[in-house]
């Protein structure tokens, strides 16, 4: 008797929860709908009629994007840049995060402060000096300019450090007593164990650099090393207003691979963020 009341109640609660989440989802998804809707609307119809409804289906915007933007080149550049940043970050940040969280050495506290401070620095503040530096080394308008400044990622170190702190210190001590040097501990224990955290920051790094517009627009001169958001800005004019249709088509084409990737990697991402080390107590 009470059982069935409980079940009914539970169902009601679950139903209410779904309803509330759906209401929030409208807020989360509305901009995406507008983006899609605009991208499939003929340019001269973009502002006509009810902007919530898809009035007039057209592929014109996509046709223009494909015609005016070397999308394949952008995608390849994007993949190359994002992958290179990720690999660089793994090589640089994982050992550093390990040392900063699990090794004792003088200067560690200073190092930690540097990382945290660097994380908080707005990168617009440092853009010009970095530009000049890259320019001195002839790196403007190269892939390197898009990659190098982001390899020493304070955020990645911060994330990884949180992860390493959640692993019992004894695991690392055990490795030491088992005869592993710091370097071999890193290769044999730390890297394999950090995989979920690496996946997590990898996805976040991928997302932010794939989508980044400010920095590439700052250091690039032409399409040679351009990444996908350039396609959006090709249709943006500061003074004449934007060409919304092709712009939204380009935005859709930028976001799409990420969304598909996220839907595929979702479970791994959550698991990674959960920072499960497999160490069960």
């Amino acid at each position: 008797m009470t059982q069935s009341i409980d079940t009914t109640r539970a169902r009601l609660v679950a139903g209410g929860t779904h309803l509330a989440l759906a209401a929030g989802a409208v807020f989360m998804l509305l901009p995406f709908w507008l983006m899609l809707r605009t991208s499939f609307t003929a340019p001269d119809q973009v502002f006509a009629g009810n902007i919530l409804a898809l009035s007039d289906f057209s592929l014109e915007n996509y046709r223009r994007v494909f015609a005016e933007v070397p999308l394949l080149r952008y995608y390849l550049n994007g993949i190359f840049v994002v992958t290179a940043i990720f690999i660089g970050q793994v090589i640089v940040c994982v050992p550093a995060a390990y040392a900063l969280s699990r090794l004792r050495f003088s200067g560690r506290e200073v190092g930690l402060w540097l990382v945290l401070a660097a994380m908080m620095v707005p990168y617009h503040a440092t853009a010009i000096p970095i530009y000049v530096l890259l320019s001195r080394f002839g790196m403007i308008n190269t892939h390197g300019a898009l990659i190098l400044p982001f390899i020493g990622s304070a955020f990645s170190v911060f994330l990884l450090r949180q992860f390493f702190l959640s692993i019992p210190q004894s695991v690392f001590e055990s490795a030491r007593l088992d005869g592993a040097s710091s370097l071999r501990t890193l290769m044999h224990i730390v890297f394999p164990m950090a995989r979920p955290a690496i996946v997590t920051f990898g996805i976040l790094s991928f997302v932010s650099h794939w989508n980044d517009y400010f920095w590439p627009s700052f250091v690039l001169r032409n399409d040679f090393a351009a990444t996908v958001p350039f396609g959006i800005v090709k249709f943006l004019d500061q003074e004449l207003g934007a060409d919304y249709g092709p712009q939204m088509a380009a935005a859709t084409l930028t976001v799409l691979p990420l969304l598909v990737g996220f839907l595929i990697a979702q479970r791994q991402l959550i698991a990674g963020i959960a920072m499960t080390s497999g160490q069960v107590d």
Binding site: M120, T126, S166, L183
Partner: protein
């Protein structure tokens, strides 16, 4: 015929270790520190130094002016205004993101079915291209014709957000929340997944209501995540630029001009590098204060973690 297992386990000497344990840590952090130094610290120091100079990049002249940049900035009053705006923005994004994010995570966590879908829906904005999305949002907030005015505006009478000195910052903050809530949700979902099931069950058996279960079991268990989320959202708030730039340009009349935007406007848009450096200085001071705060807050948690 059988050799005793114990007999097999004769002592073996340790292999010689390559790197002394004393240098190893420095080798491991070295590359990071070098990169941070070159791409973050050095540029910052340079910028700070420039706060005391009048720099004309075009003419290639640089002139020491002492505190003149500071007194001018004070006279203009824009730094104080931006400080106020930045703090308001922090208030408008950090607590809402954290509270809503936690509530959404709790809601999703309580479900048996459809968790993956909701998770994806709420995470979508995190993966979206902010440049493009800011444009869409600006468009949604457009006076009269925009969705916001046609729906929310009709109900509340709050219209033409981007054009209003009172509502432009909240409009930017709404987008800030929209963008980061998904990330907060995912972080909290991860933390909730690691709350010991048996503790919650035990509390349930003890007759603790939903609120008490949350307050006495769940909340303490997700404490570290809360600190982490607090830091991430605060960092985002301190650095906010893209949305401000695309949506309001800091206006109208500087009502939504955060420090990061003011820094850009002064240093880059107005070609006033010295004046921009003064703003950078304020921003860095805030960043350091935030860093100190976070170190104090997490010191205890970390002490527990090292043993």
């Amino acid at each position: 015929m059988t050799v005793s297992p114990a007999a097999v386990l004769t002592p073996i000497p340790a292999a010689p270790t390559g790197m002394g344990p004393r240098i190893a840590p420095y080798l491991l952090v070295g590359p990071l520190m070098l990169l941070l130094f070159v791409f973050a610290i050095l540029p910052c120091l340079l910028t700070l130094l420039l706060a005391f100079f009048d720099v004309d990049i075009l003419a290639g002249t640089i002139r020491f002016v002492g505190f003149e940049n500071f007194t001018r900035a004070a006279a203009r009053g824009e730094v104080l205004n931006s400080l106020r705006v930045t703090f308001t923005y922090i208030l408008l994004t950090v607590p809402p993101s954290m509270i809503l994010g936690l509530l959404i995570a709790l809601a999703i966590n309580s479900l048996r079915r459809g968790r993956a879908i909701w998770q994806a829906v709420y995470f979508l904005p995190v993966a979206a291209t902010l440049v493009a999305m800011s444009i869409v949002w600006r468009w949604m907030f457009v006076g009269r014709r925009g969705i916001v005015d046609q729906t929310l505006g009709q109900m509340t009478g709050l219209v033409d957000w981007l054009n209003s000195p009172v509502l432009s910052l909240p409009a930017v903050a709404i987008v800030g929340n929209w963008q980061q809530i998904g990330f907060v949700v995912v972080l909290y979902l991860a933390a909730l997944a690691s709350v010991p099931r048996h503790q919650i069950d035990a509390a349930r058996v003890d007759g603790a209501g939903a609120w008490h279960r949350f307050w006495h079991v769940t909340w303490p268990a997700i404490g570290p995540t809360t600190v982490f989320v607090g830091i991430i959202t605060s960092v985002n708030a301190l650095r906010v630029f893209d949305t401000v730039s695309t949506m309001t340009g800091g206006g109208p009349s500087r009502s939504s001009q955060t420090l990061a935007h003011l820094m850009w406007e002064r240093g880059i848009y107005f070609f006033d590098i010295g004046g921009g450096s003064v703003v950078t200085l304020v921003l860095l001071a805030l960043a350091i204060a935030a860093t100190a705060l976070q170190r104090i807050m997490t010191a205890r948690l970390e002490k527990a973690g090292t043993r």
